[in-house]
Symmetry: C2
Subunit: 494 residues, 2 copies
């Protein structure tokens, strides 16, 4: 090629003023030639001058030119031939459309588009009455820091690569011992699969125990996280009505919507609170088995039960039940830890552990070891006892305040457990509007209607989920009073 063509096409960039470290000379030459190629100033097939010639012409060392040519060849802008370096034939670039970014990028998948967009975040989360958040201030942070640091200090380097499939053995053992003592769930450590919180377990089950198009039963109203997991897994959602004895599937449900997955919160129905009655438990277990369906028992906050003894887990009622038992440390310790677990039958424990490992790769080993120590040392059980009596007081205070300020207007539901009460409006009040008014007043109340499946055939109730994990005892009365006032204004259309 003519040397002049190259030279006229090149615009050796000058270092920007104030640029502390201008790029090396070969980088500048590389950039210049690359720019000439991509802009079309040097077209495909042109032979570049030999490095020696160009070096002389540009008053650069030959090595500088060589480095630039080599980099261009490594990236495929130049092709080395027996005749020398030739410009690669790049496709003509349709740059006219480039500015219209939104037109140019494809969108989400159909299953991506159905994911709801209201995942909460941010500064509101520690206000009264965010549901589902424990009292963060009571978390034994100094002990946790010490345990975590010790885990990192003492760790075998091998354990800094990947974690073990299914979770770290220490944590699996600690969880197995814990669920046996606290929840009557008797299992081998190999049946425990450590997950990214309960949500990780739900996601794993939805995808790996059911196929697209199969039916998933959800309690209605029910837990939104389960809905997202089932929906994005391509399952067909079917709502099961809930009454004072928990989920109440009908003959028509079994006949017309035979399930593959049955999602239940037997110890403390979310968000209404009832315990799933023994009769329904046995019935569900037997009919699920006959229908070749899996039951997912989400035991998300049963650690906190305030009347009587703990309600035994459903998975331990019958031997070899088709039940995946799901628990979490998000409600008892910290959501941010993202540590939960599933207790699964022997028949699928190896497979589900392996699949979980393939999906996200096992990690967070030091965190798992620290948590195992926290449980084994008895510190975890002590923390639970402390929190249980703390929450019992708050729950009583919240009930009292609701009676005093909203008595007659709401029916208080929510059972004798957990971290929230549900106040159901006894007249037609728009709970989304109340939610919005509360938000502006600095309060968080989750609207009950949001927990119903869209297009529910069941009578949709309106109301408020009121969490007491994030509100101090002495602040409850005032916050409820404030809530009562804004509900009153909403009723009067002010």
């Amino acid at each position: 090629m003519d040397l002049a063509v190259l030279l006229s096409a090149l615009q050796l960039p000058q270092p920007a003023p104030g640029d502390a470290r201008p790029p090396a000379l070969h980088r500048r030459l590389y950039q210049a030639i690359k720019g000439a190629i991509t802009s079309g100033a040097l077209s495909g097939g042109l032979k570049l001058p030999a490095t020696r010639v160009l070096a002389q012409e540009l008053k650069l060392s030959r090595n500088t030119v060589l480095l630039a040519y080599e980099q261009l060849a490594a990236e495929g802008y130049l092709v080395a031939t027996t005749q020398g370096s030739v410009v690669a034939r790049l496709p003509r670039i349709a740059s006219a459309d480039d500015s219209r970014a939104s037109k140019a990028t494809p969108g989400l998948s159909a299953r991506g588009l159905v994911v709801p967009m209201h995942w909460r975040t941010g500064s509101d989360i520690l206000k009264a009455f965010t549901p589902g958040i424990p009292d963060i201030g009571k978390f034994p942070l100094p002990q946790w820091r010490a345990l975590l640091d010790r885990a990192y200090r003492d760790i075998n380097p091998r354990r800094l690569t990947f974690g073990e499939t299914g979770g770290e053995p220490e944590l699996r053992s600690a969880v197995a011992a814990y669920v046996a003592a606290a929840r009557g769930v008797h299992c081998d450590p190999e049946q425990v699969i450590v997950t990214q919180g309960a949500q990780g377990a739900l996601d794993l089950c939805a995808r790996m125990l059911a196929d697209p198009g199969q039916v998933a039963w959800l309690e209605n109203p029910g837990y939104l996280g389960a809905r997202v997991a089932m929906q994005t897994a391509g399952l067909q959602l079917h709502g099961i009505a809930v009454d004072a004895a928990g989920a109440r599937p009908t003959e028509a449900d079994w006949r017309d919507h035979p399930p593959r997955l049955i999602y239940l919160t037997p110890a403390h129905q979310y968000p209404m609170g009832p315990v799933l009655a023994a009769e329904r438990r046995y019935d569900l277990l037997q009919r699920a088995r006959a229908a070749n369906a899996w039951i997912i028992e989400d035991d998300y906050d049963s650690e906190f039960r305030y009347e009587g003894d703990p309600i035994p887990a459903m998975c331990s009622l019958l031997p070899s039940s088709p039940v995946i038992y799901v628990g979490t440390f998000s409600k008892t310790l910290l959501p941010v830890l993202r540590l939960g677990y599933a207790v699964v039958p022997h028949s699928v424990s190896r497979a589900l552990g392996n699949i979980g490992a393939q999906f996200t790769r096992p990690g967070h080993v030091a965190e798992q070891l620290a948590l195992a120590r926290l449980i084994e040392s008895g510190r975890y059980a002590r923390h639970l006892r402390t929190m249980r009596s703390l929450y019992a007081e708050r729950r009583a205070a919240l009930k009292l305040a609701l009676d005093r300020h909203l008595g007659g207007l709401v029916g208080v539901s929510g059972g004798a457990a957990g971290l929230h009460l549900t106040a159901v409006f006894q007249e037609a009040i728009d709970d989304l509007a109340v939610h919005e008014r509360a938000r502006r007043a600095g309060l968080v109340v989750a609207p009950l209607s949001r927990y119903y499946l869209p297009g529910s055939r069941d009578p949709l109730r309106s109301g408020m989920l009121l969490g007491y994990g994030t509100v101090a005892n002495q602040a409850i009365e005032g916050a409820v009073k404030q809530l009562a006032q804004l509900i009153d204004r909403e009723r009067r259309g002010l």
Copy 2:
């Protein structure tokens, strides 16, 4: 009911000898009555004696009987009626089949069954020549411990609930600055989505950018983790041949298998090593845009490039490209951290961040803050420089040893980057057999044939992936010699 019926059905359990804390009296009575109900000894509909009567008969306090009855009612074994407590009608329990557990539980879903079962784990992982694992011993563990502890100490309690959608702002900013400086990827922090390692990003993309039945292109041979992500998302896999200039899609590929997702490793094809040539990059970008397809650019180990300058990322070649750029800290720091990221176009950044948050809930905040500090302080860049020169030496030593002991028998591929070389056998040698022999000899070599899609139309090569992250410089020569000997025995059928 006759009191005698109840009494004859009850077997009050005795405390087991050595049981330090026998259950409370009301628990024992509760267990006894529950056992009688579930065994059928007390059948549904029977009215139990009044608490006062039973208490007298059993010589217990009335309160003990009351507590037992209340717990049974809470769980639904007794139903409170105006006539008193009545036994619930439990379905008859088919216990005969219970022992046959494997029959009783449903299995995995169809998409669960296709997940391969060979996720590696355990004690072998730090042996020569495990691919894809960095030198764990060089990780700045004391600094990491200090940064992590400081993050936990200084953290705003709000941040112990959930993390921010899309990742912590500090880390998103640090990553945006890093990819701009190191990889020529210019983006806003809002375009960075923090994920559970690269695998988390692949999983998110496979599910949320494509629907079941749509076609995903994979390089062939290619990365197994991408294959698992696409396959379990229900996508149809289509292999694209790889040559010395990277993935080489043909006209037939475009015409007969139009893609929705195109998975590429442009900077360093995995596992063969070539750089994707500029001509193909531009071509793929333009044709992907025309086909409304997404490109996933997995830049998994391009931090370690040993010849010339870094190869610029594909996503920055054209403005508003349909490219998801994926990076990870697993190869540069520690896999166990499970921290990776995707840089995504503005058009989908909010949606993908939200969806990621809905799938697993954002967490691991302290870890993200510690990593952000590590990057901002310059410590991360220093670590990369140290590791780059360390790996360059090992790579040279490995090349030399392969030449010396296996010259002629293998062709060394693997490019000028990363953490492994690929030795391709130049004659028919069963690489699975070599893998097994090596394993018995205490060496890890990943068989190249495993990286091909099953039923590949492309000429399937056999060989070995040899990682140098897990082997000290001075051990390389000996290990290769050992490898050569066992390959020789394999060839001679010994």
